[in-house]
């Protein structure tokens, strides 16, 4: 499994493989817009408790705003 992906087609392929999509931006940004099916775990609040929402048996695909 790669540690980084760059293409939309890679994202779609991972989602077909039941990857969990995680938006690590703020709640406000997430509420404004996010990728379909993404859950929100803001980076600043990422800890064992918030990460417990994730299924350890499935790949986790995270994204931010852009390359920045």
């Amino acid at each position: 499994m790669p540690s980084e992906v760059f293409l939309v087609s890679d994202v779609k392929r991972l989602l077909q493989q039941r990857a969990q999509l995680v938006d690590v931006l703020s709640e406000d940004e997430y509420e404004h817009d996010h990728l379909p099916g993404a859950i929100n775990i803001p980076l600043k609040r990422l800890d064992a408790t918030t990460a417990a929402r994730l299924d350890r048996a499935r790949p986790v695909l995270v994204y931010c705003n852009d390359f920045g």
Binding site: S3, V8, Y30, P36, Y63, N65
Partner: protein, 149 residues
């Protein structure tokens, strides 16, 4: 954990769908761009394009992958029928990404007094469609009226 490095902006620049308030409360130009705009290749002759461009004042010059190279407006389409698109096109036209809101596009059109079709392309320059000033104004007025009811 896998990082989608380009992030959500790159996703939207491919005109992929979104969820959230931006999906319900905003119109992005990728939602309304007209993908039926005529296109042609560099070597095509203006005379051969006329039937294809009937009813349009725009023809977009593209690569086989639909990457935008130039633009033919009414003046070029009504010009020398033996000229190739490459010879008379306006190279490197201004383009907009599909995740620009209709309001942002109209602001730009008004500031630069753009009355003609604006091109909507993906982040890597592939043509998605065009949107005219008139259609942009009408769609925004319709959206605003709906929001008020």
């Amino acid at each position: 954990m896998i990082d989608y490095r380009p992030g959500k902006v790159a996703w939207y620049e491919e005109n992929e769908p979104r969820e959230g308030k931006a999906a319900t409360d905003e119109t992005w130009i990728g939602d309304v761009a007209d993908s039926e705009v005529p296109t042609c290749g560099l070597k095509e002759r203006i005379g051969d394009l006329r039937r294809r461009t009937t009813g349009w004042d725009t023809c977009v010059v593209v690569t086989p992958e639909r990457v935008v190279l130039g633009l033919l407006r009414k003046k070029e389409l009504e010009g020398d029928p033996n000229a190739t698109a490459e010879q008379v096109m306006r190279p490197g036209p201004k383009t907009f990404r599909p995740n620009v809101t209709l309001e942002e596009l109209l602001k730009s059109m008004r500031e630069h007094d753009i009355q003609t079709n604006s091109l909507v392309t993906t982040g890597d320059g592939r043509l998605l469609g065009v949107i005219s000033r008139a259609d942009a104004e009408a769609t925004l007025a319709h959206d605003t009226a709906q929001a008020a009811t």
